[in-house]
Symmetry: C2
Subunit: 233 residues, 2 copies
C-alpha cells in the first residue's frame, strides 16, 4: 500500500516525526501537499465525512484517515517494525511519544507564548521570558528524563532495536541545535546519551539518505524550531 | 483487578479524565495519593525501574505502570467498553482524545502563558492577552470541531454508545463554565450539541453519583480550569 501523507508543504513541523518513521521503514508514500499544493489537502479534509482530522498532519492508509502525530506513529509503528510487538511495549513507546508531543508544544511556545494566531513579532518580550524559563526548567526536565531512560536502556529507548521514538528524539536534538545553537551547545554535556542517539540515528542508511534528499525540508522560521537571535543568548 | 491511580491530591487536573472513565465504568480503583499522600506517589515513581512515567497521572494495573492521560484512556477504553471494539474505531476515539489533550494545554496556558514554573501573579498581563486570543480564535476552533462531529454522530461522538471522549468533553464544558462563566455563557449558543452532551453525561447514574461524592475534587485555582476575574471579561 502506498500511503498518502498530508501536511503544510513549507515546513517540517509536526509532520517530520511521521516522515522520519516512513523513511526509516522504507515505506512507500506520497507527500501530497508538497506535490500538489494545499488544495489537495483541503479537499481531503472537507471530504473526510464523519471522522475528519482536527488539523494536519494526517495519513491516508487505504480508506482510513488517521490524524494526530503520535496516533499516526502508533499506527505505523506496529506495521513497520518501529515499535515492540507486545501490547505493553507498544503502550510504553506511545507513552514516550506523547511526552515528546508535550515537549514539542513547549518548544513551539518559546516563540508563541501568547498563542498560535499572533505573529512572533507581536510577542517578542513574552517570548524572551518564556524561553528563559524553557531553558532553565523545562529542557532539563524533559531531556533529563529521556537521558535517564537511555542510560538504562542502551542504544535506543527500548534497548537494541530502534523505535519511532528514537527517530523523534533525533529530531528534537537536531531541532534544538538549529533553533538555539548557543544554548544547546552549552547544554549538551548534560545529555551524552541523547547526543549519541542523535548520531546513531543520523547514520542509519535510510535516514541519512532522507536527510540529504530534497524530501527533507530545511529548518526555517515558519516551523516549530525557529532560530531567533534574541531568544538564543 | 483493583487499579491504583496516582495524581496530585488537591486538584482534578489531567487526572480527572481518567477518574471519569473509571467511575463511569464502575471500575475498582484507589486514588492513592489522596488516601496516603504524595510520598506514596513519589515512591512508585522512584521505583518504576526502566519505564518511569514522566509525570502524574499514572495508573498501576497489576505490574504495569501506564502514564500519559490519553494513553491511560486508550488502555482503559478497550477493557471497560468505553471505546469501540474495532481497531479503527479505537484509533479514531484516541485521535479525538489527543485533540482534547491539545485543547487542555491551551486552556492551561491561558493563565500560564509564560510557562508552568512561574506563578500566575507574575504573568497576569500576558495571561490577559493569551486569554483574549484563546476565546476569539482557539475556543471556536476546538469546540466548533467537536460540535461538528456531534452534529453528524448523534448522542455521543461515535453514535449511540458513550466513549471516554464523551466524558472528557463533559469535563471541558464543565471546566470552561467554572473558569470563564461570563465568556462561556456568551459562547454556549454556538455549541448546542456539546451542551446537550454535557447534560446527557451528567445524569448517567455512575457519573452523577461520582459528581456528588467526595471523590470529585471541587474545581479550584490550582488546577487546569481556574476562575480569575481578570480573565473573564
Amino acid at each position: 500500500m502506498r500511503y498518502e501523507l498530508y501536511y503544510w508543504p513549507m515546513i517540517q513541523g509536526r509532520c517530520e516525526y511521521v516522515r522520519l518513521a516512513l523513511e526509516e521503514a522504507g515505506a512507500s508514500y506520497r507527500d501530497v501537499a508538497r506535490e500538489e499544493g494545499i488544495g489537495a489537502m483541503t479537499a481531503v479534509l472537507e471530504g473526510a465525512g464523519d471522522t475528519p482530522p482536527f488539523a494536519p498532519p494526517f495519513l491516508k492508509a487505504g480508506r482510513r484517515i488517521i490524524g494526530q502525530t503520535a496516533n499516526i506513529l502508533l499506527f505505523l509503528g506496529s506495521r513497520h517494525g518501529l515499535a515492540p510487538k507486545a501490547e505493553a511495549g507498544q503502550s510504553w513507546v506511545h507513552q514516550l511519544q506523547l511526552t515528546v508531543t508535550d515537549f514539542v508544544v513547549e518548544i513551539h511556545d518559546t516563540h508563541h507564548p501568547l498563542g498560535p494566531t499572533l505573529y512572533y513579532e507581536d510577542q517578542r518580550a513574552a517570548a524572551k521570558k518564556r524561553t528563559a524559563e524553557f531553558w532553565s526548567e523545562r529542557v532539563p526536565k524533559f531531556l533529563g528524563y529521556f537521558e535517564q531512560i537511555l542510560a538504562k536502556s542502551g542504544a535506543y529507548v527500548t534497548g537494541r532495536r530502534l523505535t519511532y521514538v528514537d527517530l523523534s528524539l533525533f529530531q528534537i536534538v537536531a531541532g534544538l541545535r538549529y533553533a538555539f545553537p548557543r544554548r544547546m551547545a552549552a547544554f549538551e554535556p548534560n545529555i551524552p546519551g541523547l547526543v549519541a542517539l542523535h548520531d546513531r540515528v543520523a547514520i542509519r542508511p535510510n535516514v541519512a539518505a532522507y536527510l540529504q534528499s530534497e524530501r527533507r525540508i530545511p529548518f526555517n522560521e515558519d516551523g516549530i524550531f525557529r532560530r531567533y537571535k534574541a531568544l538564543d543568548v
